[in-house]
């Protein structure tokens, strides 16, 4: 975990109400895909947690939906503006569990951290199957980016306006995969949990006070006792999840 100043390099709208921002600065604290940053924004007391979509030595990318005050403000900041971030938060995904054919299951803005994961899996010579679910065509993003990494990609939309019609669970193969990594809204995670035969990891969201384990704001029950989503998570093993 590190605290530092980051510079907005650019922001693009990549789908309906969905933006990608590149932040330049020290990424040495980021050690695994699925970790997140916590961003201080003028006018808001609490920081905003966002998954790291991808990172290199010079900076990182976040992809976010403008759902409220903070994310809207972030999407409107000009290149060159500085932001205070906590980076390297959370455990992230464990790539060693992937096996030969992991399945990545993302819903909406749960997709971004899976991109960083896919990229690094590919680098390790593992070719994942990515199943990306959205509500509707205009919310779809990153299909091409996943494909360009060399992944197999299936897109599903709830209203059938793009890709396969239905939920991500409708698009999931019943066999042939070795492990799964899932990130998305809780109902999706629960459905994925119920419909997967392999072991897997699920990334959760919770309202956070600190993001680094101090306040107990983000507690969650697991089979091995209470955990903090921000510090012991956001990624939990399928086997420990309690619904």
């Amino acid at each position: 975990m590190k605290k530092g100043s980051y510079i907005i390099e650019n922001t693009q709208q990549i789908a309906k109400n969905t933006y990608r921002t590149r932040l330049k600065g020290d990424t040495s604290a980021i050690v695994a895909p699925g970790q997140f940053v916590n961003i201080a924004l003028a006018g808001s007391f609490l920081r905003r947690p966002l998954s790291v979509c991808d990172w290199d030595e010079k900076g990182l990318w976040v992809i976010y939906k403008t759902v409220g005050k903070g994310t809207s403000a972030l999407s409107k900041l000009e290149p060159g503006q500085k932001l205070d971030l906590l980076t390297g938060l959370g455990n992230g995904f464990d790539m060693e569990l992937a096996g030969s054919r992991p399945m990545l299951i993302g819903g909406g803005v749960g997709v971004p951290p899976l991109y960083g994961l896919a990229k690094r899996l590919m680098k390790q010579g593992v070719r994942p199957l990515a199943i990306l679910g959205f509500n509707t065509a205009e919310e779809v993003f990153y299909e091409k980016e996943f494909a360009e990494l060399g992944c197999d990609v299936v897109v599903a939309t709830v209203d059938g306006s793009y890709g396969q019609k239905g939920f991500v669970t409708d698009a999931m193969p019943q066999e042939g995969t070795t492990f799964f990594y899932a990130c998305g809204p809780e109902p999706m995670l629960k459905a994925v949990y119920n419909r997967t035969n392999t072991s897997g990891q699920l990334s959760f969201e919770e309202r956070m006070g600190c993001g680094f384990g101090a306040c107990m704001g983000c507690a969650c029950r697991t089979k091995y006792g209470a955990k903090r989503i921000c510090k012991d998570g956001p990624v939990l093993m399928k086997e420990e999840v309690v619904w």
Binding site: L46, R207, G217, A219
Partner: protein, 304 residues
């Protein structure tokens, strides 16, 4: 050189800045960010007799210049705190430690305070009387002078170490509560705990917090906290640990001028993990600008 040290019931603090209970865990997380030994003291997470999961989530909501929390005293129980957490903290930190004790009955307070009193690692016991009194209707113990006095008396009887009663601001007359604590043997007063508050999600028309209400803290509450410190300073002769919205060296000075001997920093630790060391570093230059050579001379200095 400015002298930033203060004395809290004969315990010497190198500076008056203490992370507040519940915003600093048992210290370990912050040891990642900085050397804990820069702190004036450390106040531990609120501790009860038995381990508690606390409230359901969401437990956190945002507010203008502040935040709401309804953590609900998640903690591993007094045994684990004294036997595991505190010895672990002692490996990282050698300064004064304040144990923060909560309970839902007089017996629970007595049990925990007695244990804390016996621990070699605890220097001060802060008794948080903001929890609901489940035995008599659910109003917080700190909401009535009678309850506050009774708890004080009961824990006093089992403790030799300094006892600071931590008051809730959700009362009509804070001075009356403080006087009841003084009359029953408290060594000091800590205030304020959080202001009872609420947020509603306008999209799904439900309270944001699973617990419906939560406690407001952060800069938003500073002027209310300051007023209460001022009133309590006038009402009792005991040392005061002031808190509520402190976020910068200026706030520390303002709290001390109102009557605080030391100051706790709560929500600001969550927003900025370096809040405490930054405030501590900012004190000497600020005091120099103000022409103050000993910070202790500020205590209550705005009273006339």
């Amino acid at each position: 050189m400015v002298d930033t040290s203060v004395k809290l019931c004969d315990i010497q603090l190198k500076n008056p800045v203490i992370p507040a209970s519940g915003t600093f865990g048992f210290g370990h997380e912050f040891a990642h960010w900085y050397d804990l030994n820069v702190l004036g003291a450390i106040c531990l997470k609120g501790t009860t007799k038995d381990p508690r999961f606390g409230n359901e989530t969401p437990r956190i909501a945002e507010a203008p210049a502040g935040m709401l929390n309804a953590v609900g005293l998640q903690n591993p129980g007094i045994e684990a705190v004294l036997e595991t957490e505190l010895p672990a903290l002692r490996k990282l930190y050698s300064g004064p430690v304040i144990a923060n004790i909560s309970g839902f009955s007089k017996e629970e307070y007595v049990f925990c305070c007695e244990k804390a009193d016996q621990s070699p690692h605890v220097d001060i016991i802060e008794v948080n009387i903001s929890c609901p009194n489940v035995q008599s209707g659910g109003m917080s113990f700190g909401a009535s002078a009678k309850d506050a006095g009774e708890i004080t008396k009961a824990v006093r009887a089992v403790c030799k170490k300094p006892i600071f009663m931590k008051l809730t601001p959700n009362v009509t007359d804070i001075a009356e509560i403080a006087r009841a604590c003084e009359a029953n043997g408290a060594d000091g007063i800590s205030l304020i705990n959080t202001l009872l508050a609420m947020r509603i999600d306008i999209k799904n028309r439900k309270p944001v917090l699973a617990n419906t209400t939560g406690g407001l803290s952060g800069p938003a509450v500073f002027p209310v906290a300051l007023r209460m410190v001022w009133q309590v300073y006038k009402a009792v002769k005991l040392p005061i640990i002031g808190m509520g919205g402190v976020s910068c060296p200026e706030d520390v000075v303002e709290m001390m001028l109102a009557g605080a001997t030391a100051v706790q920093v709560g929500a600001s630790n969550l927003q900025n993990p370096f809040a405490c060391p930054e405030i501590i570093d900012g004190l000497p230059p600020l005091l120099e600008r103000l022409g103050v050579s000993r910070i202790a001379e500020l205590i209550g200095a705005a009273h006339y």
